[in-house]
Subunit: 166 residues, 2 copies
């Protein structure tokens, strides 16, 4: 079977089974700090990295854009830690996820993330690697530096899914 999926808008509620949305919204705690000069949108996500997968580190991913329709042929997960992506280039991108546990491609979800929306994949959430659209896109990434924290599955043709915006 070869299915085609279109993305839905990325919202905190829709993404909750997979992780956190990073964005300056009013949905979480906000605190006035820095003598009133700054509003802190507090604890949008926790960095949840097992000891052997640590320490947590900060990196930048520079991703080349993909063309649509795009075929999902691999999925990956980090069994020992969360992984956060915050877009830096002002461009939208696609987020492709499936629940933790045994990979079930029938439970695949596709979200269109806006330029001000990051995601934090919870530990073990299956996801596709960054799918930049429109142009080269940088992302700030927070994940674990340790080894043994990466599983990748190459999907047989009958499990592949085609992504398109329309």
């Amino acid at each position: 079977m070869r299915r085609s999926l279109k993305p839905e808008a990325l919202t905190a509620a829709g993404f909750a089974p997979f992780g956190d949305v990073l964005g300056a919204t009013e949905l979480k705690d906000t605190l006035s700090i820095n003598h009133g000069q700054t509003q802190r949108y507090h604890r949008l996500a926790s960095v949840d990295i097992a000891g052997q997968a640590g320490p947590p580190i900060i990196s930048i991913f520079r991703s080349q854009p993909v063309s649509l329709p795009f075929t999902v042929a691999v999925m990956e997960r980090h069994p020992l830690g969360s992984q956060a992506f915050m877009p830096l280039s002002g461009l939208p991108y696609l987020v492709v996820v499936a629940p933790p546990g045994k990979l079930d491609m029938h439970k695949l979800k596709v979200f269109l993330a806006g330029p001000g929306q990051g995601v934090n994949y919870h530990r073990g959430t299956w996801h596709h690697y960054n799918l930049a659209l429109q142009g080269q896109s940088d992302f700030l990434v927070v994940d674990g530096a340790g080894p043994d924290n990466f599983d990748e599955i190459q999907l047989p043709v009958e499990q592949r899914v085609s992504l398109a915006l329309e």
Copy 2:
């Protein structure tokens, strides 16, 4: 004494005594990942947070801009952990730091950070709160959620420093 300081450009070498610069440069390890689709600028910084100051969390700071000349009248530090800021709004900002230990305002340094340059203050580095310029500026922040990790000093008038670009 009332001194006036002008910022220098933010570079990894100049900022090294205080922390790390977060930027997609060739200075650190780069790895080709995601089947060649992504360049990983690896481990630009480590998240160094003591157990009692954890867990590490991800927040967004929305800062209103300050007017120049600006008077530095307070300094702060996080004795138990690092704190990283990555600009999201495409605007420059000022970074004001002094070495860890007893605060010595004669060792104050001021850097002008470009829109693609973040900073990770090392544990204990004295710093001023975010000084956005030009307009409202969002920053992705990685720090510790725990208590007892914030010291602030109100500077007497004779130790204050005036910041200007020219």
